[in-house]
């Protein structure tokens, strides 16, 4: 009992508790994950267009992108953006006569790295979703005289999004868990905050356990949210099962 009381004081909201900091760090985790995921959606859509293009070079480039980003550890990608970004900023600074070191902002690094990696996964999800759009619907759209853009906006995009939701849910969970790696750049998200707390109180077990629980809460809540979204978008369809 005493153990539990001590733990609650440690992670609670009292004067010596780390609760507020852990909560704001969870918000940071959510923030960088959402930004990274959205960046991934944008890049992923472009890559999907390339994959479905009629030009072999574009298809080839897009496939190369997915193969590389899915085959290389995410930590390496984060290093690339963190150190590579700083070097690039330093180079830009040099052009304007500034010689010092310019650090890459950690949040931007995280967003970029998560975006670039998740784009590889999201483009595969979108491509699969596009393949499951019945070709009859596309032909019908052309038959009633829709030009390519209205056809995309009214027919293709809504259908692809509907079919993509389960896959996007998986990718979101992946991004959420990957966001923990951003802690190596010093961004104070959930894992980094737990590290700081563990270091200053010498109670690593309690804080990492709390981090695990908070991550579980976030993944659990988002899986429920995605399930709702899926049933909502599937309202108008009949299931074969």
């Amino acid at each position: 009992m005493e153990l539990i009381d001590r733990y609650l004081v440690l992670v609670g909201f009292g004067e010596t508790g780390w609760g507020p900091l852990l909560l704001s760090a969870s918000a940071m985790t959510l923030g960088v994950s959402i930004c990274g995921f959205l960046a991934g959606t944008v890049i992923g859509s472009v890559v999907t267009f390339m994959k479905l293009s009629r030009y072999m070079v574009l298809r080839w480039l897009a496939d190369g992108y997915t193969t590389i980003l899915r085959g290389v550890p995410d930590l390496l990608v984060i290093y690339l953006f963190y150190f590579g970004g700083s070097a690039f900023l330093g180079y830009l600074g040099g052009l304007f006569g500034y010689q010092g070191f310019i650090g890459m902002p950690a949040f931007l690094t995280g967003t970029l790295a998560l975006g670039v990696v998740s784009a590889a996964y999201q483009s595969e999800v979108f491509r699969g979703a596009f393949k499951s759009v019945a070709s009859g619907e596309l032909e019908a759209a052309s038959a009633v005289g829709m030009r390519p853009w209205p056809k995309f906006r009214r027919i293709v995009a809504p259908l692809v999004l509907r079919y993509a939701i389960p896959g996007l849910g998986n990718t979101w969970q992946l991004v959420l868990k990957e966001s923990a790696l951003i802690s190596v750049t010093g961004l104070v998200e959930l894992l980094r905050q737990s590290q700081i707390a563990a270091g200053s109180t010498r109670r690593p077990f309690e804080f990492y356990l709390t981090a695990v629980v908070l991550y579980l809460v976030i993944t659990w809540a988002s899986s429920i949210a995605f399930r709702h979204l899926e049933t909502r978008t599937m309202r108008g369809t009949r299931s074969s099962l």
């Binding site: 550890p73 390496l76 590579g84 969970q173 868990k177 923990a180 990492y208 356990l209 993944t219």
Partner: protein, 234 residues
């Protein structure tokens, strides 16, 4: 692009390759055994077994591997006197073993789900047909259920192997100098992130490529009945 530097980087990173492979192979094998035990427990353990496996999978799939690694390496260090008493300190003191344990526990969760999916994919009709032929129990499992389940689970299992290969990179965060650890150090020293990234990425891609080819061969070998028949006369 400085090719002399990249060649040097390549030689340095290669020294970390055995460690990367060792981490991956050890944890994939141990994780596979643990996943089998978990799936078995879920089948024979009744509601408790099912609940336990479900909870296990939820916890290890729902939280980042890096946090699990920190919890085991730094978190358990807090219980040093107890672990010393149990004679386990020699294991939990070593970052290598902590990384192996974290990777094993993590992959076991994913792999047990893959096994479950494979077993679920065996259709009832196939089992019924086997029963009609007089097979039951272990014989039915060995001859019918297991081969079909393995065939169904193989593609997903191949993905998991590749994911594990990439996951070993996290071990570098708890001071293990495998390929990514060496790459991170090189980048921090030389500030040539792009060149080091290309070389390290190429090494990982080469292994991934080998694994996917290997999986394709195994898949081909396990599904002779699905191959296209050679054209025959009438």
């Amino acid at each position: 692009m400085d090719f002399a530097f990249m060649w040097e980087t390549f030689l340095i990173l290669l020294t970390g390759l055995p460690l990367t492979l060792e981490l991956a192979v050890t944890s994939i094998l141990a994780g596979g055994i643990l996943a089998l035990l978990l799936s078995l427990f879920a089948v024979v353990g009744g509601p408790i077994g099912r609940g336990f496996t479900r909870g296990y999978v939820f916890v290890f799939r729902g939280s980042p591997l890096l946090v699990q690694m920190f919890l085991i390496y730094y978190g358990l260090g807090q219980f040093r006197p107890l672990l010393q008493e149990l004679g386990l300190w020699a294991i939990f003191r070593e970052p290598y073993w902590c990384a192996v344990i974290a990777l094993t526990l993590n992959t076991a969760a994913y792999t047990s789900e893959i096994f479950r999916g494979g077993l679920n994919a065996v259709s009832v009709q196939q089992v019924e047909a086997a029963r009609a032929c007089g097979m039951s129990g272990p014989l039915l499992f060995r001859r019918i259920v297991l081969p079909i389940a393995i065939r169904h689970a193989l593609p997903a299992y191949g993905n998991e192997v590749i994911l594990m290969l990439k996951a070993t990179a996290l071990a570098s965060v708890i001071t293990i100098m495998e390929v990514t650890g060496l790459a991170g150090k090189l980048i921090a020293d030389s500030f040539r992130a792009f060149e080091v990234f290309i070389v390290a990425g190429a090494i990982y891609l080469a292994i991934t490529f080998l694994v996917t080819r290997l999986m394709m061969i195994v898949e081909f070998w396990l599904s002779p009945h699905l191959r296209m028949r050679p054209p025959t006369l009438a």
